[in-house]
Amino acid sequence: MYVFIARRLLLAIPTLLIISLFVFSLQKLLPGDPVLVMAGEERDPALLELLRAKYHLNDPIPVQYVAWIGNALRGDLGISLRTNQPVVDLIAEKLPVTLQLALMSMTFALVIGIPLGVLAAVKKNTFIDYLTSVLALSGLSVPNFWLGIMLILLVSVKLGWLPASGYQPFFVDPLLSLKTMLMPSFVLGNALAATMMRHTRSAMIGVLSSDYVRTARAKGLSERAVILSHGFRNAVLPIVTLSALLFGELLAGAVLTEQIFTIPGFGKLIVDAVFTRDYAVVQGVVLCTAIGFISMNLLADVLYVVLNPRMRASL
């Protein structure tokens, strides 16, 4: 088990290096000169040169990469060209916002998707199964931006139940914070819930037709125990892996959702940074996202092993 975790951690290192290289070089390949953006209307060549020297933009690219990686390892992701704040500070400020959105969406997806999936599997080919399928399909096909705008119109503008936009830090006013995030996380989470539901359903159908579930029934266990303990406990394994993969989708979806609800999170940070060619910020945000994604998958792998005794033995 520890061997497995160690092996997975070791594997994460080359993955991160490749991502960092990719992020770094993509930046260099993009058209547009950040110095021009910084200098604004000023076109004095001496000033431009000075700025280039200040940000080491004249060094050979490999040297820039090594310097960047070295700094990143020390927790220094550079200075934002636009706001002159350290990138790390910017990230630290925005991260909790997106994290809260992601967690609430994920919770929503799990709480809705899994029970509905189990229900659909148990009631396979009945009205309930078809109904949940229709629900899932509509969850997947309605575009987020449209759903978001409609919800704002209905819930906030017409009914006035929930705030339409903005952000309230959780530790300042938990209730208001949850209220502001409720609609965004529903919008972001409903497609995930649908995906989760479909996968839970098919995993559960497979498990329910397995020999060991028949054994559990032959033992005379109640149907509830058969489904929840013997059945679901096995069906949950692929769902763990799926959740970690969906986390990536969640981060991508967060960008759009934060725009709709004008939430000052990661999504907004990266969109602003891309438009102003704020290299350091883009690099920092992408790297941070990648680390998040890799850790989620690492966590899922470990959880998978914890839940699956067969894996424990083969390690």
Binding site: A218, K219, G220, R233
Partner: protein, 628 residues
């Protein structure tokens, strides 16, 4: 839960067939009357069990025997109430200890299942839940039906595990199913079934997936526990040998109908229904072949008319004067076992270790042994489907282990393979004709028109109609598919065919026909077969010579008659003794209640296989000396 006293209906249940006088004359535990089961698929109803009636008394074993599609398993699932409720319909009466089961609700049934009747299944590998410890899975039943506390359930579970003779029961309580072998898992299943001392045990092919020496252990265990608890046992099986060994009475099912019932002795000796006789004549009996050195075809009895087609005599096809077509010397194949953070080599599976043999044109050499003995790996190594570590293989003039690229492909024209599972070994999206033609066209042996003619000819040779070539595999039965696989293997006119458990998955009557087909082909085409099998009785029937493998090595090899008539190695003797004999007269014979497992061929890094010495018993009959 109230339990009614067992009563009434005893006389009524056996109106169609003579009731068997039982010395104990106790009321039946289970009595089934006019049971019919039908399934609804795509709006149509198909009846799979029709008007079946039987009863089982305490301490008695009733075997239901039949081939696939006979309805024997459906009958047992109907009794347990385990058929899928929405698509199946059960008619008739099922009385368990006086209580009618078909009218009970799901909830009432679940209280009876596992308490008054319990079931063990065919597949011990998949019938236990992989994520729970075996201790939990057994004690669950105790908590549910006997209301024991956790601690009491644990103590009782350990006692049950000891009862089914699992060594170190207390420490194995917390282990998971994957840490147990197939035989041990079946013991766990039995322990689970016996947890609340059921009156009726239903055993659905409980030993079919097990190795033959393990099968003997499990059958003995069931018999002994039955005697201790005076349980009624309903034993579902397709294996006439097992029936003869365990059953007091036997009921034969054929396509959903009960065609014959009676004491096991009567069914075996005075079977009235043609199907019963067809089934029995298709069963090879160990020792049937006596002193003849050549294989023998099966006599085929028509299942409907009862007409007996005697077996055509076999012509000796082997020319021992010619050099062997396949010659294997000191073949070694090992697989690395890896572990640790960096996946270093920690040991090796010694799958094949110093194997040598010759195979002549027109000869059948059988490799027999149990799971993990290396018989399949030997077959694959010879074709270079896995890479051997050392040794020498000469096939039809090729130095097989030295070949590469185009030569390797050319060599494979001389040796072809037939696999075990005819359902998995044909591509479901290719027509049968395309599958059979593929080896021919991919080796560019002729035009498409020639390939068509070839396919038509091959299908005819294996007993199928040439116009079947445009159909898809799902339109064929298992036996027909295996014929198609044989036709495909013949497409390249090979000299040698490796038949890896090629008849093991087939029903008895189909098995006999396919064996006959292989012998026909050998006669007309002089093909040499390397026949890989675990089934000693079939091996005795089809082979000229036999090699017994154990832990990657050949422990004994020789002419069929010599090896079966005068086995020398202890493992060969054990293997032969373990085969259930389809003769009820030998029922009383007991084996020792051995719990020995098959040993593993995994060795630590740097393990040097010991030098072996061999002794010649009679010409061509060689046995490994220092046994183990």
């Amino acid at each position: 839960m109230t339990r009614d006293t067992p009563t009434k209906d005893v006389a009524m249940t056996e109106t169609k067939f003579e009731p068997i006088p039982d010395p104990r004359a106790a009321a039946p535990v289970l009595s089934v009357e006019d049971l019919s089961v039908s399934f609804v698929t795509d709006g149509r109803r198909a009846t799979v069990v029709r008007n079946v009636s039987f009863e089982v008394r305490p301490g008695e074993t009733l075997a239901i025997v039949g081939e696939s599609g006979s309805g024997k398993s459906v009958t047992s699932l109907a009794i347990m109430g385990l058929l899928p409720p929405r698509v199946s319909r059960v008619d008739g009466r099922i009385d368990l200890a006086g209580r009618e089961l078909t009218s009970l609700s799901d909830k009432e049934m679940s209280a009876i299942r596992g308490r008054d009747m319990a079931m063990i299944f065919q597949e011990p590998m998949t019938s236990l839940n992989p994520v729970f410890t075996i201790g939990r899975q057994i004690s669950e039943s105790l908590v549910r039906h006997l209301g024991l506390s956790r601690a009491a359930a644990r103590a009782e579970t350990v006692r049950l595990l000891e009862k089914v003779r699992i060594p170190n029961a207390a420490t194995r309580f917390d282990e998971y199913p994957h840490q147990f072998s197939g035989g041990m898992r079946q013991r766990v299943m039995i322990a689970m079934a016996l947890a609340s001392k059921p009156k009726l045990l239903i055993a659905d092919e409980p030993t079919t997936a097990l190795d033959v020496t393990i099968q003997g252990q499990i059958l003995d265990l069931i018999k002994q526990l039955q005697a201790e608890e005076n349980m009624a046992v309903l034993f579902i099986t397709h294996d006439m040998g097992v029936v003869a060994e365990v059953a007091d009475r036997t009921m034969v099912m054929y396509r959903g109908d009960m065609v014959e019932t009676g004491t096991t002795r009567d069914v075996f000796h005075d079977g009235r229904h043609p199907y019963t006789r067809a089934l029995l004549s298709a069963v090879p009996r160990l020792g049937d072949m006596g002193d003849t050195d050549i294989p023998g075809r099966f006599a085929i009895v028509d299942a409907v008319s009862g007409e007996r087609i005697p077996a055509a005599p076999v012509v000796d096809t082997v020319d021992r004067a010619a050099p062997p077509i396949l010659s294997v010397r000191d073949l070694v194949t090992r697989f690395d076992v890896r572990g640790g953070v960096f996946g270093r080599r920690t040991g090796a599976i010694h799958a094949v270790e110093g194997v040598s043999f010759d195979l002549h044109q027109g000869e059948t050499l059988s490799l027999v042994g149990e799971s993990g003995c290396g018989k399949s790996t030997t077959g694959r190594s010879i074709m270079r489907l896995v890479e051997p570590v050392a040794g020498r293989v000469e096939l039809d003039g090729f130095d097989v282990l030295d070949l590469d690229g185009a030569d390797l492909r050319r060599m494979r024209r001389s040796i072809q393979m037939i696999f075990q599972d005819p359902f998995a070994s044909l591509n479901p999206r290719m027509t049968v004709g395309a599958s059979v033609a593929e080896p021919y066209t991919s080796h560019r042996l002729g035009t498409h028109a020639q390939a068509r003619d070839k396919v038509a000819d091959l299908l005819e040779r294996v007993g199928l109609a040439p116009d079947m070539m445009s159909r898809y595999p799902h339109e064929f039965s298992g036996g027909q598919r295996q014929r198609i696989a044989i036709a495909r293997a013949l497409a390249l006119d090979p000299k040698v065919i490796v038949a890896d458990e090629s008849v093991s998955a087939l029903d008895v009557s189909i098995k006999a026909q396919v064996c006959n087909l292989l012998m026909d082909l050998q006669e007309s085409l002089k093909i040499a077969f390397l026949f890989i099998s675990h089934d000693m009785a079939v091996v005795e029937r089809v082979s000229h010579r036999v090699a017994v493998m154990y832990l990657g090595e050949i422990v004994e090899i020789g002419p069929r008659a010599a090896l079966f008539g005068n086995p020398q190695h202890p493992y060969t003797k054990k293997l032969i003794a373990a085969v259930p004999v389809p003769d009820p007269a030998r029922r009383g014979i007991r084996r020792d209640l051995d719990v020995r497992e098959l040993r593993s061929p995994v060795r630590p890094l740097g393990f040097l296989p010991p030098e072996r010495r061999y002794r010649t018993v009679s010409p061509g009959h060689v046995v490994m000396e220092d046994a183990r």
